[in-house]
């Protein structure tokens, strides 16, 4: 089996961050992340900040909360000459000069401070506003963290960045957002390796291909886990074979697993699944230099 030299090359050598992503939603990123954390004792990090749901299954205790704040410009109207330079420089259309004042659309602001740099009259200063929170708790021997973006906030990346900049030491399983958007890209910036979760369906395979392109562009070592596995459908295996992608494991599709999942419990409660996750964990330990 290949052992990737790059894995664990992050600046923080005492951390191994493995991102779990899928492209298509509902393939089982959270199921696999939480159950793998349970089996391996790796920390669980929920980066799907728009709808974090891993805590439903792990339900960590002793939760500590921290607010995530972003900068936004405030106009001092006594100094503002309505020159409009700030509105022109804004790449996100967050500032508009009307006939009476400069108006801010705070949800479009990326907090880049360009407006403050171009203002000749020192009429702009920066305030901070809360867009979400980070929660950290304990489950057994490992740490669970998650970011929560406040409802109505359009930008998740600042929450993801704060969450991933302060990761615990050791192995971290990063449960990413679905898709291949900025949220996933920002999560991958902190990853040393990736697990791509897919399912044997047209949409699952389509989005897997997209995700493979994404992780390849990051030059990350990665492999695939096929969830909801159906022995009669081998389209994902064929694709992985063609692309020389390793399959870390397959998780069968069973009614009992769905029942356990839907009652908010871990599917490793079922002996069959415990064995499967145990095998996947062994594979991961071989592939990623895991302590």
């Amino acid at each position: 089996m290949r052992v990737w030299g790059q894995a664990g090359d992050s600046e923080e050598e005492d951390r191994l961050n493995i991102a779990i992503l899928s492209g298509k939603g509902g393939t089982g990123k959270t199921t696999i992340s939480t159950n793998l954390s349970f089996i391996t004792g790796a920390n669980y990090i929920d980066c799907d900040v728009e709808e974090p749901n891993g805590f439903i299954f792990l339900n960590p205790c002793q939760i500590e909360r921290e607010e995530v704040k972003v900068d936004y410009p405030v106009v001092d109207s006594s100094r503002c000459t309505l020159c409009g330079d700030c509105a022109r420089v804004c790449q996100f259309n967050a500032l508009v000069k009307t006939k009476k004042e400069v108006m801010l659309f705070e949800k479009l602001c990326h907090g880049c401070h360009a407006c403050g740099i171009v203002c000749k009259n020192d009429a702009l200063f920066f305030g901070k506003r809360v867009i979400g929170i980070i929660e950290e708790g304990q489950y057994g021997s490992f740490i669970c963290k998650r970011g929560i973006l406040n409802v109505g906030e359009p930008m998740a990346a600042p929450v993801i960045k704060v969450l991933l900049k302060n990761l615990p030491t050791g192995a971290n399983l990063i449960d990413c957002a679905p898709g291949a958007s900025c949220n996933v890209v920002n999560s991958l910036l902190y990853a040393d390796g990736a697990i791509l979760v897919t399912e044997p369906s047209s949409l699952g395979l389509h989005d897997l291909k997209m995700t493979v392109q994404l992780v390849r562009s990051f030059n990350l070592p990665f492999g695939v886990i096929i969830n909801k596995y159906n022995p009669e459908d081998d389209r994902v295996q064929k694709y992985c074979q063609r692309q020389n992608i390793e399959i870390f494991g397959v998780i069968p599709y069973r009614r009992e697993a769905a029942q356990v999942y839907s009652s908010g419990r871990m599917i490793v409660e079922l002996p069959e699944y415990k064995e499967i996750f145990g095998k996947i964990a062994d594979t991961l330990r071989e592939v990623f230099p895991w302590n």
Partner: protein
């Protein structure tokens, strides 16, 4: 009085575009001088905040009245703040829209429509990324 109409084309016989932020052009009619000019809406290619970009263009043109189909909350608030009135009109020729306005047959918009309504199908929107 200067009246700006969201438009599919550059001329006064073009059709009105019912989308404000994502329309192709604005046709501006100056009723005192009887002049018509048009300019491209650079908001249509904006990743986000198209209505805001379009509204800034209109504000900078010193327009008094805007005629369009629908307008989102951001642009609407900007016009409110700038004392620019907004009137609703269906899909018709710009010339007809101006005539209807002069006859007082257009309804003034007093409330913004939904955000992102003019983004069309298939593009999807996941805000600001």
């Amino acid at each position: 009085m200067k009246i700006a109409v969201s438009s599919i084309g550059k001329d006064i016989d073009s059709m009105l575009d019912v989308r404000f932020g994502r329309c192709n052009y604005f046709v501006v009619y100056d009723s005192e001088e009887g002049l018509v000019k048009s300019f491209e809406n650079c908001g249509q290619v904006s990743g986000g905040g198209a209505g805001i970009v379009a509204a800034q263009l209109i504000i900078d043109e010193d327009v008094d009245v805007v005629i369009t189909g629908n307008m989102g909350p951001n642009a609407f608030n900007l016009f409110k703040n700038s004392d620019i009135k907004v009137y609703r009109c269906g899909s018709t020729q710009i010339e007809t829209a101006l005539q209807l306005f002069n006859e007082g047959k257009l309804e003034e918009l007093t409330q913004a429509g939904p955000a992102h309504a003019g983004m069309g199908t298939g593009r999807g929107f996941r805000g600001g990324r």
